[in-house]
Symmetry: C2
Subunit: 468 residues, 2 copies
């Protein structure tokens, strides 16, 4: 094999097929680390992808993880550092000397370097920052909000002048080849550093050396400014099937690029956040969180639920005379609550998703609501019929007074409750969205609680009107 | 600009920045279509990305959407077709002649062509399939399950022989340049079509024309076989930050490639499916679904919830004498149900997420459960204290008998209920996962219902023991 100057060595060869991680492997490695079997540990880890090493490391104790980070060669340790969860990483890095930490961070792309520094204690970050090779780039990235295009982007990209030839552009690629790992596209800038086009690698490869970039570039490009929220960035890259998205500042100058792998993480995180919020868990619970961190995220919602349920209890106590007259009415409390809760959660989950994907617009609202009401009427009639029949059958074997009357009272109440709960579930997320509140936040416990209260109220009112 | 043979024209220039879609634009376009203003409609749509045209089309009536598909030039109509939801597309394509439909599908990549054919009525698909240019490739793709690597992959990729030179490989890229839109990497195969390596475009560009592929390729590659589930494919591409993943058959021959944009859609869909399942909506509800389709997805869960709640009602009726003695006990039914439901949903949501991301292993279970129980004890004591204090205060202003006794009875019951509900929520998803059932399926309504029943039972038992 001839040696080619300026071509970076390909990344270390990696395993074929994904690794099956399991607890046995972790236990074996943990035992080897505790026995200080450095050589064997490094041998095992050498064959693994940094992402797999990170998974294993997350399941080790802090001391064991620190040993792994110390034993690994600096580049591998750096890659591992970038793959770890923020909290766990912050715990680990304290034990490293400033020199080793600086050397590790220097191995990383600027976006990963900035993410790590942002999560270090500020006095440590401030000591390391000026020592980095790409100190200025990293400093700039740190100046953007974490959840914006600026916070996501990397400063590693290849920009060529509009007057370059293909040969010039190829030379530019060669110059930066070991800095920029994956090159999907070259960005074209004019003399004022304004982004004016892109050239993809296929086109660069196939064009003659003397062709001018200006003649082969694609001159209109989707780009975002540094302040665009990461959810919006994800939506744009998804919508237009982009692998790289250029980021420009408010003057239109190219300042960075976002790659799809970072966006895949954003999509996953946002989806997890939505599920957690809908389930009444605040603040993004992680498996590595302490008991107190978990309590902090969950307790407020439990207390809010307790408060709402107390209101439902007040409604029930208000009707205590009805209960004294017909004790069987108490049996309908769980039926009304469960059905109201389920119907409300169904319609609100769909509404939250529609809002998140941009499929629902405020002006669609009437059409959307009409459909939900139709669904609620059909579902309500079906569920009410089942309940009515169940009550009539139950009436044959027990001493319930007027089972037929009770059956149609309960069925009618359930029909109303389902219609109302579905409407509330479909409406509240849109209202919250209009008010600028994340609709997922209130969807779970909030809608369930209000539907509980409304449902019980409707049931007892109807029972008083039609049954008692 | 010199004209370069065999270099495909760049894709049509596209808008800078994403389009702000709103209902006004859709209304304007809809009015223009109804007035048969073909020229104006095409003028407006010509500036838009197919993804944006698809969003608009989804909000049009069926007749209007069909006109748009007929008016658009064949390539753009084809791209639009690929972007539409399956159900809506199936409705629309019936009106097209077989020739136009074939011509449209011929414009698409093989994976999109196969997806569209798979969703057409089978007699239509069978007539079109033999007429397609890539008939054999599409036929092969259709033979795989939709949710597997085989169903996701496209037959458009560039494979080069291991004995090729860089010049040969470049020529191969040139030959297939207009078939394969985005080339991130070339796959290297040996004489038996076995996948043996990859060469990325950067390396190809920077290597001398006479260099041998075998000397510059990266020889170990992550790949999947055609039968791997799409969720697993997504996990692998996410984990290893891949943009393209080669797919091999069971003999190790390269048969296709999966690109990250398809996986981004999979991740989004799976997350939406999880949220829907956790909310008691089956079958992937879409905004374009009919009322009956929606009913079909939601009604079974409502009926299951009704059944579960009826069991809770039976428990309450079993204790009707306790209720007759102290009517105030009925007020605790919503409190117990809401708190049990919320605590169970919180812990189950976290468990489902941990399972989905692969962070939880069966062997972690004890450690995980211990943490959940600690959290439940802290939360339970906090919530119980609030409830106890509320009862004592309420007792000052009402005629409740023995308010202090009632306070500690209710508080103790709530503490038990929270611990139990949290435990059930954390355990059931793992059990289901072990049984091969999607844990998200049962998490919402199922766990809530069983916690309701258990909660009410515990409360009334304790009330009988300590209060009555």
């Amino acid at each position: 094999m001839e040696v080619l100057p300026n071509i970076p060595p390909e990344e270390k060869d990696r395993i074929v097929g994904p690794l099956e991680l399991d607890a046995d492997l972790v236990e074996d490695i943990s035992a080897l680390i505790d026995a200080d079997e450095r050589g064997m540990v490094l041998n095992i880890l050498a064959d693994l992808h940094p992402a797999d090493v990170a998974s294993i490391t997350t399941h080790l104790s802090k001391d064991e993880a620190q040993k792994v980070l110390e034993w690994l060669p600096i580049e591998t340790a750096a890659e591992l550092l970038a793959e770890l969860e923020d909290d766990f990483r912050s715990e680990l890095v304290n034990s490293f000397s400033q020199e080793r930490l600086t050397a590790m961070i220097d191995e990383l792309d600027t976006d990963d370097a900035a993410d790590i520094l942002a999560n270090l204690p500020s006095e440590v970050a401030e000591r390391i920052l000026p020592e980095l090779e790409d100190s200025d780039d990293v400093k700039e990235l740190l100046s953007y909000e974490e959840d914006t295009a600026g916070g996501l982007m990397a400063a590693e990209f290849i920009a060529v002048g509009i007057d370059f030839t293909v040969a010039d552009a190829t030379e530019e690629v060669r110059l930066h080849a070991d800095k920029v790992q994956d090159i999907f596209v070259l960005f074209v800038i004019d003399e004022n550093e304004q982004l004016v086009g892109t050239v993809n690698m296929k086109r660069l490869l196939l064009s003659p050396a003397k062709a001018r970039i200006k003649d082969i570039m694609k001159s209109e490009v989707v780009s975002v400014t540094t302040d665009v929220d990461q959810e919006e960035v994800a939506r744009i890259m998804e919508r237009y099937d982009l692998v790289t998205l250029p980021v420009i500042d408010f003057e239109g100058c190219l300042v960075g690029r976002i790659t799809i792998d970072d966006i895949v993480d954003v999509i996953r995180e946002e989806a997890e956040e939505d599920i957690q919020r809908m389930s009444g868990v605040a603040g993004g619970e992680e498996h590595t969180d302490s008991v107190l961190q978990i309590v902090r995220g969950r307790l407020p919602w439990l207390l809010a639920g307790l408060f709402g349920a107390t209101l439902a209890a007040v409604v029930i106590l208000f009707f205590h005379e009805s209960l004294a007259t017909a004790a069987i009415l108490a049996g309908f409390i769980p039926i009304v609550m469960a059905t109201a809760g389920n119907a409300g959660i169904q319609s609100s989950a769909i509404a939250v998703q529609g809002l998140a994907s941009g499929d629902i617009w405020a002006t669609d609202f009437k059409k959307r609501l009409a459909k939900e009401v139709y669904v609620a009427i059909v579902n309500g009639m079906a569920v009410a019929t089942f309940l009515g029949i169940a009550i009539i059958i139950y009436g044959q074997f027990s001493s319930v007074e007027n089972p037929l009357q009770l059956a149609y009272t309960a069925a009618l109440a359930l029909l109303f409750v389902i219609i109302l709960a579905t409407t509330v579930g479909a409406t509240i997320p849109l209202l919250l969205d209009k008010l600028g509140i994340d609709p997922a936040l209130a969807t779970g416990p909030f809608i369930t609680t209000s539907n509980d209260i409304l449902g019980i109220l409707i049931f007892f009112l109807l029972a008083n009107l039609l049954y008692l």
